[in-house]
Amino acid sequence: MADKRITIRATRFDPEKDKSPRLQSYDIPFSDDSMVVLDALNYIKSHVDGSLSYRWSCRMGICGSCGMTVNGTPKLTCSAFLRDYWPRSVTVTPLNNFPIVRDLVVDMEDFMHKLKSIKPWIIRKQEIPLGAGEHRQTMDQIGEFRQFSQCINCMLCYAACPVYGLDNEFLGPAAIALARRYNLDSRDQGTKERLPMIAHPDGIWECSFVGECSVVCPKGVDPAKAIQQTKLDTTMRFVLPYGNRE
């Protein structure tokens, strides 16, 4: 293989020095077809410029920390192959719609608050004692919520959602999908308790079904579906006289 090279442009921003972010260009060897965008950043950090900052850990698409915008699309950089871009250059910027802390690192406190706000834990009227063993649950019952339990909190969906971009008060795709994950779990009885947060004006109603959240989701969670289904279910609770109110 001839010595291939690829140009990576990455956002640089140091709040202690810079007023606003800028792009810096790096020309690096593209030595192996298995290389992903994250490998390119790691190469830069190890061999060219140690001050480039970004988050990553697992390098296998499961920890959810390496989400960035790659050529305009939110991606997990550990699963975005350079071969899909080469010979074009690759522009890596932080996830959209979040405040930039430093270089490619965004502030995710808002997201963490939102996760917590929907009470993502099993709520029961009566806990069963440990000694009674497990709740029985069939694979079909798991199938009800399985898709929505695959979320790795990578926030790509928030970066893709213009509604969140326009107004950060919006509860957003992943948090609502997670709420639905618990609401659909046969062990959970907390739908009603989560309702005020979910059916809040800044909750499900704010979503105008752009659907891009589901397009970018790397784990097939389909938050857009979760949100629309929640709208429908919630509406039915109130529209049907005895609908669905447990």
């Binding site: 305009g72 502030d107 659907g211």
Partner: protein, 133 residues
């Protein structure tokens, strides 16, 4: 909650810009979908006007056939079709129908929606044309 909050450092929030929907094909088509509301609303208002016109008695009645109106309808039609297509397709995502305790595949739901659309169009069309003279 976490102790960091108090030591907030300066962050940079990139502006969103009103032209965000031009950045990506998908966003653009979303805006088109939302925009369909406008031509459809105008067309229905026209229909309402047509009905109201009939109330003024037979003397002044003339059938709707200005070229401008045909052009206007022709413009509205793609929007109407796009609305129908997107709305019925997305309905497949939302609806959860269970048949014999098995969730129905969303493909089946979408097919049913489009089937209903077809039947409704045929019935309405038949009435509109069938009573015509």
């Amino acid at each position: 909650m976490s102790a960091e909050a108090e030591t907030a450092t300066r962050t940079y929030r990139p502006p969103m810009g009103a032209g965000w929907w031009t950045r990506k094909g998908h966003y653009f088509w979303y805006m088109v979908r939302e925009f369909t509301a406008l031509p459809l609303a105008l067309w229905l208002l026209w229909l309402l006007y047509e009905i109201q016109r009939a109330g003024r008695g037979p003397s002044g009645y003339y059938p709707p056939n200005s070229t401008a109106f045909v052009i206007f309808s022709a413009i509205c039609l793609p929007f109407a079709l796009y609305h129908s297509f997107t709305f019925l397709k997305l309905a497949g995502v939302i609806l959860r129908v269970k048949l014999l305790d098995k969730p129905l595949a969303s493909g089946v739901i979408v097919a049913t929606m489009f089937g209903t659309w077809l039947v409704a169009s045929v019935v309405v069309g038949a009435v509109l044309i069938g009573f015509g003279r």
